[in-house]
């Protein structure tokens, strides 16, 4: 019971902190002081207090977009095990629901972008679906590989299965999976090298270009949803990359929080040392990630 409460509290409250840590890491690399760790929370509070402006050309789809996106991501957050604790909701085959909840949220983000009739947003939507349809096979290959290793179709079992002993016996395929999943994590969350979340040029943006017309609370929901998505996919990654379990419930929660913060720092470092890729190079990298995870599956199936 306590585990479920901690799970919900962490999933609801922690995501913006990750963005704060990433921003702080980037600031440290650039030699700046940077915004405080809790800046994303202040931003969200500010946005929720504002009024909304809706363009007259938009319909209910535009208003539903952010809400459905956030709802789908929240359900996904309930399905994924955090640390070594089973998820609050789990059933056989929930890995497919997990993957397609992100599909649903993406569909509504893109359709809300198209609903505005803005050419920039249409462009962003086209890019988003193109790149995500290349990133999706990677996630599936990774999940299939882990499902095969753990002989289960439940996300809770699949993701708590990797242990240090596992890493020793199937080290090569685990390493391939971690590499592929990290690339997917960056691509799905529109981070550098795929997309620059801080850019202010519509022509080069992917995810940010789609939400230009949202304002006030709706924009706050989108930002929060994006942070939550980073949190959920980061939790999947942390479960596989850092398979340590102490047996003590609270120690495991501590390890989980530390590993998530570590992941945020890693993303910050990657963003500081890399430049954004040219758009034509992105599919190449995503296909490379798919091949890595397919190769991992091949090694496990053999």
């Amino acid at each position: 019971m306590i585990d479920i409460l901690i799970h919900c509290a962490l999933a609801l409250l922690m995501p913006p902190l990750l963005l704060g840590v990433i921003a702080k890491t980037k600031a440290a690399f650039a030699g700046r002081v940077g915004a405080p760790y809790f800046q994303p929370y202040y931003d969200l509070i500010k946005l929720f207090r504002k009024g909304s402006v809706f363009s007259v050309t938009t319909t209910w789809v535009f208003r539903a977009g952010p809400v459905i996106t956030l709802a789908a991501t929240l359900i996904a957050a309930l399905l994924v095990p955090l640390g070594r604790h089973a998820a609050p909701v789990s059933f056989s085959g929930d890995m497919i629901l997990f993957a397609y909840l992100f599909g649903l949220s993406r569909f509504f983000t893109t359709i809300a972008a198209l609903d505005t009739g803005s050419s920039f947003e249409g462009m962003g939507a086209a890019r988003e679906v193109t790149f995500s349809c290349l990133a999706e096979p990677t996630l599936f290959f990774a999940l299939i590989t882990l499902a095969r290793m753990s002989k289960s179709l439940t996300l809770s079992t699949i993701l708590t299965h990797p242990t240090p002993a596992n890493w020793l016996t199937a080290g090569a395929s685990m390493l391939l999976l971690v590499g592929a999943l990290f690339i997917t994590l960056l691509a799905e969350n529109s981070r550098i090298p795929f997309d620059d979340p801080t850019t202010h040029l519509e022509l080069t943006m992917i995810h940010e270009a789609m939400v230009l017309d949202h304002s006030g609370p709706a924009f706050g929901i989108i930002l929060y949803g994006a942070a939550l998505k980073l949190f959920v996919l980061g939790a999947v990654f942390a479960n596989i990359a850092l398979p340590v379990a102490t047996g003590n419930s609270f120690a495991d929660w501590g390890i989980f929080i530390a590993s998530m913060l570590g992941l945020a720092v890693t993303i910050g470092v990657v963003e500081s040392v890399m430049a954004r890729l040219r758009l034509v190079r992105i599919p190449q990298l995503l296909v490379g990630a798919t091949i890595l995870s397919a190769f991992a599956m091949l090694l496990v199936l053999r």
């Binding site: 190449q284 296909v287 890595l292 397919a294 053999r302």
Partner: protein, 213 residues
């Protein structure tokens, strides 16, 4: 020890894919050099250590990891080319083909009647996958240098296959193959230099225009 050899063979197969996906020739040459060094380490992992084993390891690492890559990169520098431009087939399609070939080589290795102690090792799939990668590089790239690299990768594939048979294979055969390869690369380097000096391009698809009108 054979578990560690398997991890190294996975690395060999990943290097195959890297070579299929990159357009920078120098990077490709470095990748093939690394592959050569890994191949040099492999015999020491699966056979008991002896004098001639150490000798052959040193010779392989020297030839595949240092001398041959040096010769090719020298040719690249003299011919002033850095990128493979416009291959017959794009990088993403060749990368996907390479992945499919790797999967097929796993499937094919299953059907081969192997000795029981070799059944679970990655040697056969890695060897066939490397061989096929070499074929892919040879057939889809335009530049003569890329084709030389493809030829090298093919030889690496054959070498991996030979590792399993090395009890039956005398040192002289292996040394002879290595020498042939070295001379072959040397000659190709000279030929490439001559081509680039005479015709200002080493694009093999333009070779048909060499004939006099």
């Amino acid at each position: 020890m054979s578990a560690f050899a398997d991890q190294l063979l996975v690395l060999v197969m990943l290097i195959n894919l890297v070579m299929l996906g990159t357009s920078r020739l120098l990077f490709c040459i470095r990748a093939v050099a690394l592959q050569g060094v890994i191949l040099g380490i492999l015999p020491g992992l699966i056979h008991p250590i002896s004098g001639h084993l150490i000798g052959i390891t040193a010779v392989i690492i020297l030839a595949k990891g240092v001398v041959i890559p040096y010769l090719i990169s020298d040719a690249v520098r003299k011919a002033h080319i850095r990128h493979e431009v416009e291959p017959y087939l794009g990088y993403v399609p060749t990368l996907l083909l390479g992945a499919v070939f790797t999967a097929l080589s796993f499937a094919f290795a299953e059907t081969l009647p192997l000795a029981p102690e070799h059944k679970d090792l990655l040697f056969i799939p890695a060897s066939i996958a490397t061989l096929l990668t070499g074929f892919l590089l040879l057939t889809t790239r335009r530049k003569a240098i890329s084709q030389v690299i493809g030829y090298l990768v093919m030889e690496n594939g054959i070498f991996v296959f030979g590792l399993l048979l090395s009890e039956a294979m005398p040192v002289m055969v292996e040394a002879g193959a290595l020498l042939d390869l070295l001379v072959g690369i040397f000659v190709m380097g000279i030929v490439i230099n001559h081509i680039s000096r005479e015709f200002s391009s080493i694009d093999t698809s333009r070779m048909r225009t060499l004939k006099e009108e």
